[in-house]
Amino acid sequence: MAPPSPAVAASEPVLYRLANVTKTYRMGDVDVHALRGVDLELDARELVVLLGASGSGKSTLLNILGGLDQPTTGSVQFRGEELSTLSDRRLTEFRRFHVGFIFQFYNLIPSLTAHENVELVTDIARTPMTADEALEVVGLSDRRSHFPAQLSGGEQQRVAIARAIAKRPELLLCDEPTGALDYKTGVLVLDVLETIARELGTTAIIITHNAPVAAMATRVLTLADGRLVADERNAQPVPAKELDW
């Protein structure tokens, strides 16, 4: 099975369809039930904020949506294609061509410069923007030759965003993108994310335990103890710049 191509993708309004997804994993000697039966449909171009306490299963859900992890049971369809049965190779291709990840701790490769960290993606994507373009989008053109250790937290996260969007992904998955940042930098980063999602028509899913961030979403999902406990749509999202916490 080939990964879904963008051409086919456009005709399908539902991006994700999850049915009874569970996830159990072992950590050390402990069994962790991260997800306990999640049913969910996500549409294209939504800006989703995923709320929940620490350990509620947010990251696990995000990893499964992004093809980083497979559910223990249940079905995950991306544009009608079943992800849960894809081989490791296909999952890698899915991530490579469709998904951009942004992490709480940026996860930049310390031995590569900002520019090179973005190039890591443009090297393998199908129709990427150039690394310079991506850095331009996040306003870091002048920091292109700096190593992560020479960048502030906000700058590092913006490099991570540039790296995520450089492949022109259909899906941006952000795990606590502002978790390690101060308020001002956090808002700046969210603004960049919002702008990119709007301008590139990308679906974005943002995990946060910071409830006020939910105001910028078109849809807010809340997880508790591995279950989806709330699913609200927001007709009037607030621009990121106006968020306050």
Partner: protein, 785 residues
């Protein structure tokens, strides 16, 4: 270049210290391969070319005296391609004031070189036809004795002294190695090979119209063994002294055993180093993968497949292997050229040039990369097995058990920390101990030859060879002539020894050896076992070297067939009464009177053993000995030892120093890597100790403790490994028919191995200690797992 390769390059730069230590170990292993393999190649090539150029024979025979017409009979033997017959005569060279030296003179016909075993004149010219005063001297001997073209030398032929002018210096495939009669180690300085005009030599040796030395080449597909048997049959009537095939020809036999040893070592040595390098890479790569969990997860998240990521790390290992190989080839090249220089003195092969074959370099590269990949495979598999989402999470805390050390509650917490660290990863501990132990074993190996020689010389000269001067005679003389030797100046005792050539055989297996007849009252020569125990020579029957018994599959009480090559040339069946573990060669021992009986002769002696007032022979004694026509050569034990040490000593010292340096490189590499890994994995713990108020030296002790524990375990393991694995393996590659040096460990060697290992350990640790000093408690605590 992709960004991933940029990352690899920078990762490698960040690892430079540890990578370099592994590169050194790989390079050392590869260098030893390139140097030894290249020399093996060079020796083989030079040997083959020289053998072909000089038309080296397949079969070699000698007889007492045969008419030239016998050649026709030999040529008629089925499968014989060509036959060469010559005159040769045992001679003595009374050089300077020293002891007379035994030698052989061979007849040549001017520039016509003869059909086989052609002597090649490298300087000067061949003796002119009809000139009885010209001689060509073997190059190795001339070099060892500092004799030059134009020099005049004295040669005693059948008791008549002749003065000869050295007109040429020559080499011969038959005499790449020479061994003085009655001795078991090659010694180019104490056996002379001379080529004289054939007619002149025939006259001097009283051999006009006769020949006594034969060689043949066989037709392709013909068994040389069968031809040798036919030679024996034909020459029997002319006092045949036995025929050997090329593989048993003395010089070739010694050369072959050196080559086999070199070839085996050229494989065994690199294997040890590559195995250690693989082990070190295993430790490092696992460490890196653990440290890079987050990076690996990120790469997976942005769309790199696990195999692409694994391959990226695999390339780091490959780069280390390849860098080691390239460094090793360069180092090996230099070492190889140096080794060739040493070999050039040792092997008298013309055209011996070290050559680096592309195949060997490529093989070295492939082997290094393979070792690197084998080392990295565990880490790479863990990358492949790492689920991307799992990699995003910090690794679960490492498991520690109370384990076997729970009961050591009396130990300090620091020591318990050390022991638990070792017990937690038993395989890693085992691997590191094995690596350091192999270095210790190499040190044992480096020193062993010296130990074995010392022990051997010590026992030989204290218990077995108790004479001060050994006089070899051209021919056995009646036993009453001993009295003449007794009256020589400074002599307090003279004893005779009867030595006769025999062929001993059982079924199809046979060996040409010497049988020694020992006087029952003799005190100057005794038969010794390997460890110096004196064996009694039985009044009846023979004692055999146990190696000979093994070859012929004989046991005590059995009878063995013996062809005597002297006296009445009869074949007898002798009873074996016992075995002795002699160090060198193969021989048989019997009672003097019994042997005389078997030879059906009046009592004669062929070697005279002298005990002197002063242990060293006086010039006066040597002068008198030079004047006795029957004397072929004189040797003194001391001289033999000096020669042996001068000859093998230099090579063994070089070999020992290089091997010790190599071994030290392993220990430094292992200790450095171990300390570095411990420092990296426990930076937090160590920083915590600093925060808790431990001093820097106390923190260093926890790291040092681990290393000390490893080295303490490795020392005895390595010594046992050297004693019971490496030395026996090395002896396997030596030809047991030539020598069987005792496998021993001296206290000196144990001390040496310990000292070098401890020094290397301290060096490896000091390299890391600098970083330990820089350990900043606060920043270490801040780092995220």
């Amino acid at each position: 270049m992709t960004v991933l390769s940029t990352k690899e390059r920078r990762d490698l730069i960040a690892l430079r210290g540890r990578a370099l230590s592994i590169i050194v170990v790989v390079a050392v292993g590869i260098a030893s391969f390139i140097a030894m393999r290249g020399n093996w190649d060079a020796l083989e090539t030079a040997r083959d070319r020289f053998y072909e150029q000089s038309r080296f024979g397949d079969v070699f025979a000698s007889a007492q005296r045969a008419p030239r017409s016998v050649v026709k009979h030999l040529e008629a033997i089925d499968g014989v391609a060509s036959v060469d017959a010559r005159v040769s005569q045992g001679v003595t060279l009374p050089i300077g004031d020293g002891e007379p030296i035994a030698g052989v003179a061979i007849g040549v016909r001017g520039d016509q070189p003869g059909t086989l075993n052609v002597m090649r004149v490298v300087r000067g010219h061949a003796p002119e036809i009809g000139r009885s005063d010209q001689v060509v001297l073997l190059e190795a001997f001339a070099h060892a004795r500092d004799i030059h073209l134009g020099d005049e030398i004295a040669v005693v032929v059948l008791g008549r002294m002749k003065r000869l002018r050295v007109v040429g210096i020559g080499v011969s495939a038959e005499y790449l190695f020479t061994m003085p009669p009655g001795e078991m180690m090659p010694d180019v300085a104490r056996f002379a090979v001379l080529w004289l005009d054939e007619t002149a030599l025939s006259v001097a040796a009283d051999m006009e119209g006769s020949v006594n030395r034969f060689s043949a080449r066989v037709q392709p597909g013909t068994s040389a063994e069968r031809v040798a048997k036919e030679f024996d049959r034909v020459l029997h009537d002319y006092g045949g002294l036995g025929t050997v095939t090329r593989s048993r020809q003395q010089s070739n036999f010694i050369l072959e055993s050196e080559l086999v040893g070199l070839r085996n070592m050229s494989f065994a040595m690199p294997m040890i180093f590559l195995a250690v390098a693989a082990l070190l890479l295993n430790l490092i790569m696992k460490r890196i993968v653990r440290e890079h969990r987050g990076q690996i997860a990120t790469l997976a998240a942005v769309g790199y497949s696990s195999s692409e990521i694994a391959w990226s790390y695999g390339r780091i290992a490959l780069l280390v292997g390849a860098a080691g190989a390239i460094g090793g080839v360069a180092l090996g090249w230099a070492l190889g050229i140096g080794l060739t220089d040493i070999y050039r003195d040792f092997f008298a092969l013309p055209g011996l040039v070290f050559k680096l074959r592309p195949g060997a370099a490529i093989g070295a590269l492939v082997a290094s990369c393979l070792a690197a990949l084998i080392g990295a495979v565990g880490a790479l598999r863990s990358i492949l097995a790492l689920a991307p989402a799992e990699a995003m999470r910090p690794p679960a805390p490492q498991k520690y058990g109370h384990g076997a050390f729970a009961s050591f509650s009396l130990l300090s917490p620091m020591l318990r920390m050390t022991l638990r660290e070792l017990a937690r990863k038993p395989l890693r501990t085992l691997g590191t101990v094995t690596a350091v132990a192999s270095a210790v074993a190499l040190l044992v190996m480096a020193r062993w030859f010296d130990d074995a020689m010392t022990l051997m010389i010590d026992t030989q000269f204290r218990s077995a060879l108790r004479d001060d001067v050994t006089v070899n005679l051209h021919e056995a003389v009646p036993v009453n002539q001993l009295r003449m030797f007794e009256h020589l100046p400074g002599v307090i005792r003279a004893e005779g020894l009867r030595v006769a050539p025999i062929r001993i055989r059982r079924g199809n297996v046979s060996r040409d050896i010497a049988i020694f007849g020992h006087d029952a009252d003799g005190r100057l020569r005794r038969v010794l076992g390997k460890y110096g125990d004196v064996a009694d020579v039985p009044p009846d029957g023979v004692l055999l070297t146990s190696e000979l018994a093994r070859i012929l599959n004989l046991s005590v009480g059995e009878r063995v067939e013996v062809d005597f090559r002297e006296g009445d040339f009869r074949t007898r069946h002798l009873t074996i009464t016992g075995f002795v573990d002699e160090t060198f060669g193969l021989s048989a021992h019997a009672d003097f009177k019994t042997l005389t009986g078997w030879l059906e002769q009046e009592p004669r002696v062929s070697t005279v053993l002298l005990r002197l007032e002063e242990r060293t022979p006086s010039p006066e004694l040597l002068t008198r000995l030079r004047e006795i026509p029957a004397v072929a050569g004189v040797s003194s034990g001391r001289h033999a030892v000096e020669q042996m040490e001068a000859q093998s000593g230099e090579m063994m010292v070089v070999f020992g120093v290089i091997l010790s340096l190599f071994a030290a490189s392993i220990t430094v590499g292992v200790v450095y890597n171990m300390a570095k890994a411990a420092l990296a994995s426990r930076a937090r713990d160590l920083a915590s100790l600093r925060v808790l108020g431990f001093h820097r030296t106390e923190v260093a002790q926890t790291l040092g403790g681990e290393i000390l524990a490893i080295v303490t375990m490795a020392l005895p393991v390595g010594m046992l490994m050297g004693r019971y694995v490496m030395l026996p393996a090395m002896m396997l590659s030596a030809d047991p028919e030539m020598y069987r040096l005792p496998i021993i460990l001296s206290g000196r060697t144990l001390l040496f191995a310990t000292a070098v290992t401890v020094a290397a350990t301290v060096m490896g640790f000091l390299l890391v200690n600098r970083e330990l000093k820089r350990l900043d408690p606060i920043s270490a605590l801040k780092t995220r797992e």
